[in-house]
């Protein structure tokens, strides 16, 4: 179904997809009803476009001209391709959980010897059962068409629960693998619930083989209860003909701590939008990120930090490196609600342009309704410093080597914000892979 869409056709094509896919989508009764409502909400709005303020720089109607059919459940051949990708991208010491074309594959995942108080299930299992978590999963904010579409089409994902006081002996690595050689779309949704005083480390990565063409729409629902902590990094290393539209929604309890990092180096079109709510007093967020783009890549990172209660802090450090004709977007909005006194919120974003045709849009915004707060933001964009480049070249580094060293230092400012040293090394390795591909 390689249709080129006008704006009115988007919902029609997806409507046919939805009608065909319903039979195999998990969940009946209330779940099926929810899917229908979510789809109707999506159909009424259609794909977001530039006249919607939040999508001004990422016009999906212009960037995603085609809608691919829903990915089939992976067959043996797909699973064997997935197995070799899992091997290539596995993180040693981590518990690998694998989604293949949006489907949780137990045989490729490591579910042995789960720590006390830790439960891991597939989204399908939870949607098909009667479960208290259903209410959390059936989530689709009205103003988010891409999340509504995800709610309608969600095929599978993982549901991870940590009971009060539980802690992981090793990080969980959620690997999103795309295997299809034919263009497909993948809708996945995962839920992570971290109980009081529990502690978890989550690595997510999105990988494929270079030639594959596909569209990912993923949603992650995260809740970090009182005194709990989550370290989370995500790496988007999709194939160069893929799109990745991901949304995450995070709620933090009292004194909860989130240290999050996102790196986008792959994919033709990507958007990572995350909304983090400080719902309990004394919660703390560090959220940093890096876009490394070349060719004609488009990557958008959109953060919303909602300080709803007093005494919370948030700190965002974002760096974009943009080469060739690529386009990087960073939007960061900090909301400080009237009750959220003593909020400490800071956001700094910088873009490095490696070519005259590269583009970076930085849009930090503060909306402050409380009077006793410390808030600040800043944004810069520029080229590499010629003096530094010459110094390095005078010592024998080629132009590319000198640029690579300075780019590493530049993105290092965001990577340093990762609290966990092992996760920092994973992010550094991903940045190094981008630099070596750049040559």
């Amino acid at each position: 179904m390689n249709l080129v869409l006008t704006k009115d056709e988007t919902a029609d094509v997806l409507g046919e997809e939805f009608a065909q896919a319903r039979k195999r989508l998990p969940g009946a009764g209330k779940v099926a009803q929810f899917r229908q409502q979510a789809f109707d909400a999506f159909a009424a709005a259609g794909l977001p476009h530039r006249r919607i303020e939040d999508w001004k720089y990422t016009d999906l109607r212009a960037l995603m001209r085609k809608v691919w059919p829903l990915a089939p459940a992976p067959d043996d051949e797909a699973l064997s391709r997935a197995a070799s990708m899992v091997e290539a991208h596995a993180i040693s010491g981590a518990r690998q959980l694998v989604l293949v074309d949006g489907v949780f594959v137990q045989t490729l995942s490591d579910l042995g010897g789960l720590e006390n108080g830790v439960r891991i299930r597939s989204l399908r299992e939870v949607l098909e059962g009667k479960n208290a978590l259903l209410e959390r999963l059936l989530f689709a904010p009205k103003d988010q068409a891409v999340v509504a579409l995800n709610a309608a089409m969600m095929t599978d994902g993982v549901v991870i629960e940590l009971a009060e006081g539980a802690s992981l002996d090793r990080p969980i690595h959620l690997l999103h693998v795309a295997t299809s050689r034919r263009p497909v779309s993948i809708f996945s949704r995962s839920l992570v619930e971290i109980g009081q005083k529990a502690r978890a480390t989550l690595v997510e990565s999105y990988v494929s083989e270079e030639a594959n063409s596909y569209q990912v729409n993923d949603t992650l629902l995260l809740s970090v209860a009182d005194d709990a902590r989550l370290d989370h990094i995500r790496l988007v290393e999709e194939s160069s003909d893929a799109s990745n539209i991901s949304s995450s929604f995070v709620t933090l309890g009292a004194r909860a701590h989130l240290n999050a990092f996102g790196l986008t180096a792959g994919g033709a079109v990507s958007r990572y939008q995350t909304a983090i709510t400080c719902a309990g007093e004394g919660s703390r967020i560090e959220s940093s990120g890096v876009n490394l783009l070349k060719g004609r890549q488009h990557a958008d990172t959109t953060l919303l930090l909602d300080h709803a209660v007093p005494h919370c802090s948030s700190r965002e450090v974002f760096r974009a490196v943009v080469d060739d004709r690529a386009h990087s977007v960073f939007q960061g909005r900090i909301i400080v609600r009237p009750k959220a006194q003593k909020t400490d919120a800071r956001m700094m974003t910088r873009a490095l342009l490696l070519s005259d045709e590269a583009e970076a849009d930085n849009k930090p915004e503060l909306e402050i309704f409380a009077d006793d707060v410390t808030c600040g933001h800043g944004a810069t964009a520029g080229a590499l410093d010629e003096q530094l480049l010459f110094y390095l070249r005078a010592r024998g580094l080629s132009e590319r080597e000198a640029q690579a060293l300075l780019v590493q230092a530049f993105v290092g400012e965001a990577i340093e914000e990762i609290a966990d040293e092992a996760l920092r090394d994973i992010a550094l390795a991903s940045a190094a892979r981008w630099l070596s591909r750049r040559g």
């Binding site: 005078a394 580094l397 060293l405 230092a409 530049f410």
Partner: protein, 250 residues
């Protein structure tokens, strides 16, 4: 064959000619001092030899062991053995000094078709040099020149010189911003590198530096030309009588 031959070099920056036909020959083992007032073109000369962008060579040539230096990229020149010790070494936050040194050394070795130095060999070499220059190990872990004092930055330049073992060292105003003690440490480091295979061009405004790095030849440069050449005694004469006497000659 001379190591460096500069013949009738003419250089412009934007619309201004800075060097108006400069000629200089440097043989292996020699130490040449180039002295001159501010604005005489000394730093321009050092930048053009190292290949800094922004200078337009409108006439003349620079040969390095008989090869046309002006056709080479700055990193090719470095690999061939040209080293510029910067007047104002830049700070590079986020690039650890050790990483920088290793990348530079291996880039040059690769360009010359040599094998990369192993990690233990590299560390041993750097540590030995650092200790002779009184550079503490923790300085090597910090970003290149970040938070270094003026003296530490210059010592770091000498450290790089000792590590990279160039055959031509150009020292651009090495004494600027240094007190006597810092100057002595840096100069001792430079003197230790004097050898029959290596030449040095010491660019300075003041005679003071030449008490520590004693040159074989002294050239006086004013208004973009060498106007007088002589032995080390010429530096003393300049110190006593100033540059004014040469202004007319230029």
């Amino acid at each position: 064959m001379p190591l460096l031959e500069i013949k009738n070099l003419q250089v412009r920056v934007e619309d201004r000619e800075i060097l108006h036909g400069l000629t200089l020959t440097v043989n292996p083992g020699e130490v040449h001092a180039i002295m001159g007032p501010n604005g005489s073109g000394k730093s321009t000369l050092s930048h053009v030899i190292a290949g800094k962008p922004g200078y337009e060579v409108t006439g003349g040539e620079i040969l390095f062991r008989g090869e046309n230096l002006l056709e080479m990229e700055p990193d090719e020149r470095a690999a061939k053995g040209v080293f510029l010790a910067f007047q104002y070494p830049v700070e590079i936050p986020g690039v650890a000094t050790m990483t920088f040194l290793r990348t530079a050394l291996n880039a040059q070795r690769k360009a010359r078709g040599e094998k990369e130095l192993s990690t233990p060999d590299f560390l041993k070499k750097v540590r030995t040099i650092a200790s002779t220059l009184s550079i503490p190990q923790d300085m090597l872990k910090r970003g290149v020149n970040v938070g270094f004092s003026g003296g530490e930055k210059k010592r770091n330049e000498v450290l790089q010189m000792a590590l990279l073992e160039p055959s031509l060292c150009i020292l651009d105003e090495m004494d600027s911003g240094l007190d006597i003690d810092a100057l002595r440490v840096a100069a001792d480091g430079v003197n230790a590198l004097r050898s029959p295979d290596r030449a040095m061009v010491v660019i300075t405004h003041y005679q003071r530096l030449l008490n520590y790095i004693v040159p074989d030849f002294v050239h006086v440069m004013t208004r973009g030309r060498v106007v007088k050449s002589g032995g080390k005694e010429l530096a003393l004469e300049l110190e006593a009588r100033g540059y004014a006497q040469f202004e007319d000659a230029a």
